[in-house]
Amino acid sequence: MKLKDYLSPFYVWKRAFDKPFTTRKPLEDRPGAPRYRGFHQNDMEKCIGCGSCEVICQNAAIDLVPVDGIETTRKDSGLRPKIDYGRCCWCALCVDICTTGSLKMSNEYIWIDSDPEVFRFVPGASEKPWKNTEAGYSQHENYTLLNLDRIDMPMLTPEDSRKSFIETVKGYSKEEAMKEAQRCVECGLCVATCPAHMDIPDYIRAIRDDNLDEALRLLYDTNPMPATCGRICTHLCEDVCSIGVKGEPLAIRWLKRYIVDQIDDTRFKAILRDEFKPNGKKVAIIGAGPGGLSAAYYLVTAGYSVTIYEASDLAGGMIRYGVPEYRMPYDQLDQDINYIKELGVEIILNNRIGKDTLFSDLYNNYDALFFSTGLNDPYKMAIDGESLPGVFSGLQILDDVTKGIKPDIGKSVAVIGGGNVAMDAARTALRLGAESTLIYRRREEDMPADTEEIHEAHAEKVKFITQAIPLRIEKTANGKLKFIWNNAEMVAKEGAARPSPIAIEGDIQSLEVDAVISAIGQGADYSFLPPEYESKIKFKRGKVIINENCQTTVPKIFAGGDIANPTADAISAIADGHNAAKGIDKFLNKK
């Protein structure tokens, strides 16, 4: 040992003159860093109660609880996370996964109590000192645990699609569907919104697990027309999808289609194992649209003998006659219908009630009646020149094309309206070789048509003229039609939900076309009902009043579909059919 070794320890004394390490007032001087993962905060308005935080919490520290002042709506479960600080490990996975970005962490970290029961609170609702702290951990832009982008759907290019009636949307491959299905967080918010309350998270999980048989069974639990709904459903579910808050919602509709696309229809019977014992009771259904078919399926599987009366020469109703083939190929629709037929449902075609068969005969011969005749009476524009030759209704065009008749629309058409029928008519006209111009009273964002349809119509180069109030149609000298409208401005009225178009005085425009297609909506046609029944059944604004079992005011008569529900889409009709079947079952078994 050297002398140095004996002396060097005394070097520590030098430190006596250094600035000490000690933090003088640690409690006051040291707030958590700006990114500190401290106690939780939740933006109660932003949160939708999807429960992803609960699922990802590996400590089972999060419960979803109802909170005062938060109502359950279609987009919000009304539940909020309650965190148990006897479990939490402050890993912030709940913050990372949060589908809305409402959950955050403050940089506060001191909570002391002598009672172990108090360490539970609902962030955002409980008054805590850190409720409004700014600093703390929150989601970052470049780091997400979710997949916010939808898997692109392979589609025909607009250039190709506008030329033919081949289906535009090609459908997911297995790999794409699995990837898309993986994006689901299984929150289940969509189930309430779906009119049929389909078990969406469950069948998506089945896709993920590649168990398509199970997926098909889940579909048929609530919807006997999956191939149809997989294509033309209005997919209200996607509007409330929690992934859609920050990103693109799951392609729920296309996933449903994927399931049916993958399974050969000859195997349906084996997979679904629909077994039933005939119970000897008979039900008649008027209209072989989605409502009627759905009711038929659930009635026949409950053991009833079902007969459907259909006025047209093929079943399918508005789906066949009102939706063009490039959106809803007929073989797919036939697949859905065939399976229902296979189960023993009798469909009598070309039989118009009131003409070929009397309503009263049905009423007397069957144990119950269900009618779902749909809206097939186009509204009139109520303008001059509407009855000129060359003015068609949108439905008529679609109907003709389905039947293989080529309507005489010439080289250019003006389509009036902004709904799905208008889009379909405009795009059908394109495929028939005409230039389409779409004319609508309000703005594009006010159009009731699906956004995808509007988008595709744009892509296929349909011209859009908006804020145009139709005035009249005139015949021109060269045999064309002149559609004249008045430009409008949008004026917000007090008390009105949306602004309405008000004509700008003197700003009148016109367009010369070969044909005008009016597609401004449809009403119901109740001519099949004899007066003695029509007087007993109650209506409101042209719609049949039904109870939750789809029962009309005449106990034996049930109704559903577009003539009864406000949404007037296929999935609602299917849901009505299901409810009616349950209602009829209840009604008949009570006796």
């Binding site: 109660g49 999807c50 429960g51 609960e54 999060i62 419960d63 979803l64 609880v65 109802p66 359950t72 279609r74 479960s77 009304g78 539940l79 148990d84 006897g86 172990p116 029961e117 539970r120 929150c187 289940g188 918010l189 189930v191 309430a192 309350h197 998270p201 639990d221 939750e548 349950k582």
Partner: protein, 179 residues
């Protein structure tokens, strides 16, 4: 890496071989040959470092897999040797004479998986647990959550709701009785 695998195939006719990376491979070896192979690898092929011994439980095939991970410090390659044991009475030849740390590993495996290594020193002593009476905790059929709830009873008073069910209750209670 390929070289040693070829040698293993030649000498011991070992298959199958799973090559993970350029410097890592796993081979499955017959139970009784393992000490022999290990000794050969250690003494002649420079696989001098035993990184660990561990087990994986496969109740679905009624087997427990033992993994011996060897490392070669010259070539910097890892060789994992797998041995499949019968699950009902798993027993394995002890190799505590080859490396000093092995006895502890075997003690741990006895405790956590219930694998017997006859002759291994201190095998019956506790490793991490004390007074354990249930089935060995690392077996797949041991449910730790259930055990914990039964034994250490979590603090009561918690209740959660499933958004799907809760919305059903709130928004469309009529559909409740179905299904």
């Amino acid at each position: 890496m390929q070289e040693i695998l070829n040698k293993l195939i030649d000498r011991y006719a070992i298959e199958p071989i799973q090559e993970n990376r350029h410097n890592q491979a796993f081979v499955t070896i017959e139970k009784n040959r393992l000490p022999d192979v290990l000794t050969w690898l250690r003494d002649y092929e420079d696989y001098t470092h035993l990184a660990f011994i561990t087990a994986v439980d496969y109740p679905e095939i009624e087997k427990i897999q033992l993994t011996y991970m060897l490392h070669n410090y010259i070539l910097h390659t890892d060789l994992g040797l797998r041995v499949l044991l019968d699950r009902t009475r798993p027993e394995m030849v002890s190799i505590h004479h080859l490396w000093k740390q092995v006895a502890t590993y075997q003690r741990e495996l006895r405790e956590m998986f219930g694998i017997d290594f006859p002759g291994s020193p201190g095998l019956q002593e506790n490793f991490a647990l004390e007074g354990w009476k249930d089935i060995p905790p690392m077996r797949r059929d041991f449910d730790t959550k259930e055990y914990s709830e039964k034994t250490y009873f979590p603090r009561p008073g918690r209740q959660t709701h499933d958004p799907k069910e809760y919305m059903k209750e709130k928004l469309y209670p009529s559909a409740k009785e179905d299904k």
